[in-house]
Amino acid sequence: MDIRLSGVSHRYDQTEVLRDISLEIPSGKIVCIVGPSGCGKSTLLRLIGGLEQPSAGEILQVGTPPTDCLNPLTYVFQDFALLPWRTVHGNISLVLEDHGIPSQDADDIIQNVLARTKLSDFAKALPKQLSGGMKQRVAIARALAVNPAVMLMDEPLSALDSQTRELLMDDLVNLWTRTPFTAVYVTHNLAEAVRLGHSIVVMSRRPGEIREIVHLDQPLEQRGLGNVEMEEKQKYLWQLMREEAQAADAELIHV
């Protein structure tokens, strides 16, 4: 299933947040959205997932999601959004409970996603016992459990320290390589974008418009640390964004 945005604009009262965004998110690819803070990239993600309605333009699902997909558009949040009173197992079963799945099948699904995210040993742990990286892996496992058509990832690694971030990026690459999934990945971190994105959408400061879409052809599993081509891309992206970031920063101070 693809997602198509055409002429999407959005405003909160007087403030124009997004202006005329048209974008194609192809099935089985990861699209990264980068931009300076306040450019509306998180808003864009909420619009894509239907948590908010755009002021103008339309967002379309092209094709039908697979039949075993429980929640076509599934988010992974920056703050993990795990229920602290439920165990890892309980947090994942939460999103299966409303679908009338027999408990044996649900357990199988949970075992499966826990195995894929290397969390099998922590099924009974409470979120407070887990590190930040583990928590985000639980959140990813939860997202995988509903077999989403598109994963909407809102700065999923921003709350983590840099080592954990590296580890999780490896995990995500492995996950994708084994079973490619479709994702919209919002981040302000260019290293993440060049590591995970098949295409990278660079946005201007508010009101957010698309500056440029950069395509990266190198397969994900080959984009390790110190990859020269990636460094080049990242440098290029930074040049694109630098002025915008500076202006956005100054703007925030003057407000």
């Binding site: 997932g49 929640n71 988010y75 959004a81 229920l83 009173w85 939460l94």
Partner: protein, 269 residues
Amino acid sequence: MSDQVNTFTIRPVPFRGGGFAPSSRRWVGLVVFVVLIALAEMGTRQGWISALTLPKPSDVLKTFGELYSTGLLWKHLSVSLSRLIVGAALGASVGIAVGVMIGLFSYVRAGLVPLVAALFPIPKIALLPLFVIWFGIDEGSKYALIAFGTFTPTVVATYGAVDNVDRGLIRMGQSFNLSWWSIVRKIVLPGAMPGILSGLRISLAIAIILLVAAEMLGAEYGIGAYILEAGSLYDLERLFAGVTILSILGVTLSTCIGLIERRLLRWRV
């Protein structure tokens, strides 16, 4: 000059980080109790505390013993506890229900928050005669008074707790297409539980206070009636025995809620 300073003033850096770190000293509370009681006992025995001012702690204990051995303790305690349990259960459950509704529905909030704010400061004791007419002089008015007294603080605590439930979690629930009822049951209610329980702590203390007030009218038995009777008879031993029972009741209830909290809120960091 700097050389001189360096050669003459070698000493350890002074420690300035002491205090302001409360640590557990359980026994101190007990010692305070014991010392106060011992002082009272000494004073009343030697006469520098007059019999009008304080009863002998040992006499209070004896009164307590008599109360126990005659079976009256249980008679008073059982009616009081049933009043407390029925009244508080009624008030707290309706309070939680209304509080959750206020937290969830804008119209209910707009309609009821001013009403609750208007009801909250009313001294419930003042309404007792009215309750007697509405609910009868027997158990009805007592249940009503305690229920009403626990209702308002529970409502306020509950809707505050619902308001404070992490919006991110609710958004997460919506993003996974959970039904409205699932979100309320699995996210809002457990998330509001810490606030509700700490509200309940206050509500139950109020319930104990109101127990005495409720037993002012038409109660032959009950801890509150016992205390009031002792007061009107100037029987300080009984008065103190009754007050002690109330204190123990309060501590017990508070401990119970503590246990429930520890059980239900194990997940808290």
